[in-house]
Amino acid sequence: MWGFRKNSRGIGEDTCRVPNREDSSGVAVLLSNVSTAYPRSKNPALINVSLEVEYNTLTLITGPNGAGKTTLLELILGFLKPLTGVIRVLGFKMPKDSRKVRMLSGYLMQDFMKSPRETYTVMQVVSMGLAAYKGPLTPLNEKDLEAVRWAIKAVGLEGLEEKPIGILSGGQQQRAFLARVLVRKPKLILLDEPFSSLDPEGRKTISEIIDNVRRKLKSTVIVVSHDISPIIEYADKVVEMKSGRIVGVR
């Protein structure tokens, strides 16, 4: 079902889209005493956070609303600048090398819902995941399209390829965005509340897909979620956050 069957073509056979660039530290994501704040905010969003995420592992970040979970992902992708501390992602210094890290990453955003008037089809939306890798006048080739079809199949949206994404349910849209992450064959996968719109069966399925993909692609996965129960069995590390601080790692 996941497209990882023997002799299956497409993404399942490959490793990551970009060459492995592991630094000698063995740490994919390193945050050392990092504090940050949103513009015009009176309080810091993260306070002296230190975290190490090893390559090819699955890390869960959990905690209540306002704990700083999404802020952490935004720092990793360079959308926010640290006030203090050091951030290194995939061997790159952040936020200086943001674009390089983003090219190597796949990001599932928390606010993904699209308006019912959105007419881009599922196929188009998933294909857009490859946009940054394509140069001028370089259309998608058959291998790319095959990978797109594989990703759509992997998240269980087969048959909905030509449907406008706007008319899909929240759960189906979330699966489409996950397919967009998968088609990039990212070295680092960042998932922000990937289960928020899914039913229990969907949560279980998506958890299995995430685990399968990270093993096949040798990707490092960070999942931010209130509800970690569907995926905890695959996790290598669980980080608990509260009020902008890490309060527990197990």
């Binding site: 983003r102 881009y120 294909s127 946009a131």
Partner: protein, 251 residues
């Protein structure tokens, strides 16, 4: 532009072009070139401050818009009355269909071809940006580059059509036709928008001829009427669609 959150910036660029054209009246410089220089400077200034200061693009845009409008008014006020009543000044401020010269048509065709080449070359990246800017940025798409290219093309378009609609109303011809069809058809918006823009221009010229009104203002009025009609008809279509749905459900 609307999807990229660059609408206010376009509005500012249009008024910077007006400021440039107004300054050209007193500085005796070529109006289109001065308008283009002002609009590009304004766009780049807004982008630079947005990136460097972290202030919202909209805030800087509105500040630049006010500043540009003020420059335009001061330039018009300072212009000698003889210059103000000249044909050039009249064209810049109020517009005229007579300003459409063969050279301008060639320039517009060049602009359309440039836009088509750009869109075809970067189709996937542009689609990605139009769909979700933040997601595209998170995936490594060069948002700054594409935003800058779009702003440059807009500044060129504004400078070229400035004398047609006049500096005060140039933005309406860029904005109104596109928004008029937005709710009717998302997918065919570029084509329908161009058609509505062309129709506004044609109707504007005809109405202006019969009622002896300024061409630029009349074209803008037609574009505004098209916008009202577009919004109203899409609301009516939605109303009927909902009614049909209710009838279907109840039976």
């Amino acid at each position: 532009m609307r999807r990229l959150g660059l609408l206010t910036l376009c509005f500012t660029v249009a008024h910077a072009a007006l400021a440039g054209a107004s300054v050209s009246i007193i500085a005796s410089t070529p109006p289109e070139e001065t308008a283009f220089a002002f609009s590009i400077t304004a766009a780049l200034l807004v982008e630079l401050l947005y990136r460097r200061l972290g202030v919202e693009r909209e805030v800087i845009s509105m500040c630049t818009f006010s500043f540009s409008s003020a420059i335009a008014m001061i330039a018009v006020y300072m212009a000698p009355s003889v210059t103000l009543t000249s044909e050039t000044a009249s064209l810049i401020l109020w517009g005229s269909v007579l300003a459409v010269t063969p050279a301008k048509i060639v320039l517009l065709v060049f602009l359309v071809v440039s836009l088509a080449v750009y869109v075809l070359s970067f189709k996937l990246e542009i689609d990605s940006l139009l769909f979700d800017v933040k997601l595209a940025e998170a995936e490594g798409v060069n948002v700054t580059l594409h935003a800058t290219i779009l702003i440059l093309l807009t500044a060129m378009a504004i400078s070229i059509i400035l004398k047609l609609t006049g500096g005060f109303l140039v933005f309406s011809l860029l904005f109104n036709p596109v928004v008029a069809v937005e709710r009717l058809s998302y997918r065919r918006q570029p084509l329908l928008g161009a058609l509505v823009g062309g129709l506004s221009g044609l109707l504007g010229v005809v109405v202006s001829y019969f009622f002896d009104t300024p061409v630029g203002a009349t074209i803008s009025m037609m574009a505004s009427i098209m916008l009202i009609l577009g919004v109203t008809s899409s609301s009516l279509l939605e109303y009927h669609r909902t009614r049909r749905m209710k009838t279907y459900v109840s039976t």
